[in-house]
Amino acid sequence: MQTNLLEMRSITKTFPGVKALDDVNLTVREGEIHAICGENGAGKSTLMKVLSGVYPVGQYEGEIHYAGGLAEFHDIAESEAKGVIIIHQELALVPLLSIAENLFLGNETQKNGIINWPETYRRTEGLLQKVGLKDAPTTLVDKLGVGKQQLVEIAKALAKDVRLLILDEPTAALSEADSQALLDLMLELKAQGVTQIIISHKLNEVRRVADTVTVIRDGHTVSSFGTTDGITEDRIVRDMVGRSMENRYPPRTPKIGDMLMEVEGWTVHHPEHADRRVIHGVDLNVRAGEVVGIAGLMGAGRTEFAMSIFGRSWGQGISGRVRMRGVEVNTATVGRAIEAGLAYVTEDRKSLGLVLDEQIRRNVTLTNLPKVANGPVLNHNEETRVAEGYRSSLNIRTPSVFQKVVNLSGGNQQKVVLAKWLFAEPEVLILDEPTRGIDVGAKFEIYGLINDLAAAGKGVVMISSEMPELLGMCDRIYVMNEGAFVGELSAAEASQERIMSLIVTE
């Protein structure tokens, strides 16, 4: 009989005007991996903030029992001292400091303010070994990929004598291979006795590592069960969204028309190292009404490829041809690419897609301002009308289009980015990870929009790291690896196994 390490009882957290958590219960047993599932906005992160003391005791109702006593954390430092450590979705590493410096940041191996470097490096090596990182302790974090950075975060938690490790969407930014490595590490830590909570949208991962699942919806605990109880993914999804989701991808009858865009022999060099070729003679085409996927691992060069086509926004020494409806076009600047009928919806909506502190309507019109202006003078009313149009057609949930986008949830922000690019009236849309970090319900809506675009005769190129998504949505899938296309599969022949085998056999 295992004891309970953590019991959160009847937690209620109210923000002015809204109950974010309402009588939530969470029980985590010593030594288990506990998954918390729920849609975006369900209250998962709020719950973790209550647990870690971001919302100090007194700002919420209910009790937290941790390690056999009543826990009343006033800030993160107190919870960390007790071994409760959160690794957030957005990593909290300092890019220009070394791995060792990051690991002991705020927790330095020191005496009277003077750092003991030999000891620091010795301990770092030990910790890196534990998480399976082979990089030198002096390596700058900047030089590591996201996957390795995630491991550094975990090593940092281990450096603090973690007892309860909380991972918030740890694999959201990771490739398939890195995700697997991370999950393996979680299992290994479990074997060493570290209790873990994982927040994730990815149900296959949850099933792989979790012993217990708690589903939260709209601030309530909906269900909690062991993964050995024969619970299916469908059941979890049903609990998460409150309805059955037999079809995670809306159906579509493809009506594929004329050739829209052809890319030929596209070659790109690295922006800093001119002699390093990153994209090697890629050929791609997309027809009207077609959804074409680009599969590949993180770092395969998919984003770089897309951005280099779109106004040479990445790389240098670019060669190759782009034809639209058979006519060669110049896409050397973003302006020209837009004119040629291209749109690129970025994977990084916060830093590349939106002006966060601006109103929704001002973001939407940014790609095509002259369309809401008489000559040089803006027509604010027309702008509002346009934004209202997208708000209702894309179902952007907001009290008004005058709301700043920073206040929207991830799914609604993504819809604003889409609206912005629809307003540019493109013929071909390149969607880079269009559903990253958004919840199941919003994903379904985005899929519907993609289908609508295809039905309207647009060409869609979809880059995604989630293979089921590509398989569910695309008519044709290119497989990319190390800067080159290594295969092309029709919807009928494509499967996760075939895509993976194309990647690994190259």
Binding site: K13, F15, P16, G17, V18, A20, E39, N40, G41, A42, G43, K44, S45, T46, H88, Q89, E90, D168, F310, G311, S313, T333, V334, G335, A337, I338, Y344, T346, S351, L352, G353, L354, V355, L356, D357, E358, R362, L366, T367, L369, P370, A373, P376, V377, L378, H380, N381, T384, R385, T398, P399, S400, F402, Q403, N407, L408, S409, G410, A424, D439
Partner: protein, 411 residues
């Protein structure tokens, strides 16, 4: 999902509406107006009514004209996410150039003015080039410019003051627009004054009328589109205060010598730049550039070109300010414009612009400049020492920015 809780909070507040919510959402705008009024009232009382005497009011406008002119350009530079530390030096250099051209080389006023503005544009272009196309931080480039143009004015003037100017040149800064309307004498009699400038009074009435009209117009538009608007009481109070203040100031001016020439320059430029920033495609793109440069670039906006142009524009305005400043002092001195960039930058930040870019309004910058001007003027009348003046101005700037940050955190 990280911010889900906060998101909901916002919508909750938004739907609740109400006076308190509206006020706290727009505290900055009202706060600035209120601060200006409060400071003016304070100095009006402690100076025994000297502050708002027609002659002092006229002086106040003349003293701050060049700061306001440069603040217009600085606002755009700051909104686009940069800063220009060189404007004081550039202003001094252009003033020196004008003096040398007119006094030493006997050039006509027109040629001098055109050359000076062109040189200003060129200086802006030279600095903007490195900032826009080489991505060198504007702080560094314009810090270099500050030293270079300070040195150039010293060199140009040979370390001495050059002047005086012919009367026509002086009139740029110290001249007054002749009265075009009849009836001045009758009004003077009515109010028991020595003279009364009808033109100034009429312009004041028209300006106040325009404020009311455009306010009503915007309000009607907002209502039509169902946009949450300010409560009626606030609207009436705000528009009323602004309109009355305008009538009052112009009335005061008309009892002295009427409209200063430079006020026309200032007014016209302010209107042009307010329109440019708020109503045009170009202006919107500047805000997007400052709000998120990468996203703006990926939206097809020519961010480099915009940055470049913002500095060319700043150079032109610094040149105009240089002409006004030289004309006002009636000579060009090597010290002219020293540390003035700090006043200009302070005005823009007091006016609500954000250091990180994307936020700020022309009207805010102008009011910010006036606020600093009233502080200078009022403390000057009281005979407050320059030591205390500096300290107080510094603290006012800090307070304004703290207020901004506090507001943002709360919101």
């Amino acid at each position: 999902m990280t911010f889900a809780g906060q998101t909901d909070t916002h919508t909750g507040e938004e739907t609740k509406g109400g006076l308190g919510a509206y006020l706290s959402a727009h505290l900055r705008e009202y706060g600035l107006l209120f601060a200006l009024i409060a400071i003016m009232a304070f100095f009006q009382i402690v100076t025994g009514g000297t502050l708002l005497r027609p002659i002092n009011l006229t002086n106040l406008l003349l003293q701050n004209s060049y700061i306001i002119i440069m603040a217009l350009g600085m606002l755009i530079v700051i909104v686009s996410g940069n800063i220009d530390l060189s404007v004081g030096s550039v202003m001094g250099f252009v003033g020196a150039l004008a003096a040398v051209m007119i006094v030493n080389w006997d050039q006509s006023l027109l040629v001098t003015a055109l050359v000076c503005v062109a040189v200003g544009a060129l200086i802006g272009a030279a600095q903007g080039y490195w900032i826009a196309y080489w991505s060198i931080p504007s702080f560094i480039v314009t810090l270099a410019g500050m030293l270079v143009f300070r040195g150039l004015s010293l060199w140009l003037l040979g370390g001495e003051s050059v002047g005086p100017f012919p009367r026509e040149f002086q009139s740029i800064a110290s001249g007054f627009v002749p009265d075009l309307f009849p009836g001045g004498a009758a009004m003077a009699e009515l109010f028991g004054l020595r003279n009364f400038n009808m033109l100034s009074f009429v312009v004041g009435l028209i300006a106040a009328g325009l404020v009311v009209w455009s306010g009503l117009n915007k309000r009607a538009q907002n209502r039509k589109y169902g946009i949450e608007d300010e409560p009626q009481g606030f609207f009436i109070a705000r528009i009323g205060i602004v309109a009355l203040a305008l009538v009052f100031v112009f009335f005061k001016l008309s009892t002295f010598r009427g409209l200063p020439n430079v006020m026309i320059t200032m007014g016209v430029l302010t209107v042009i730049y307010a329109f440019l920033t708020e109503q045009t495609v170009l202006g919107r793109r500047v805000y997007a550039l400052g709000g998120n440069r990468k996203a703006a670039k990926l939206s097809g906006i020519k961010t480099e070109k915009l940055t470049f142009l913002s500095f060319v524009n700043m150079g032109i305005l610094a040149a105009i300010a240089g002409l006004v400043f030289a004309a006002r002092l009636n000579s060009a001195t090597p010290k002219a414009g020293f540390a003035l960039e700090l006043d200009v930058i302070a005005a823009v930040f007091i006016g609500g612009a954000s250091m990180s870019g994307g936020v700020g309004k022309i009207v805010g910058a102008v009011v910010g400049a006036f606020l600093m001007g009233v502080l200078n003027n009022g403390m000057g009348i009281l005979g407050v020492g320059i030591d205390y003046q500096q300290m107080i101005k510094g603290l006012v700037l800090l307070a304004a920015v703290i207020f901004d940050v506090y507001n943002k955190q709360k919101g």
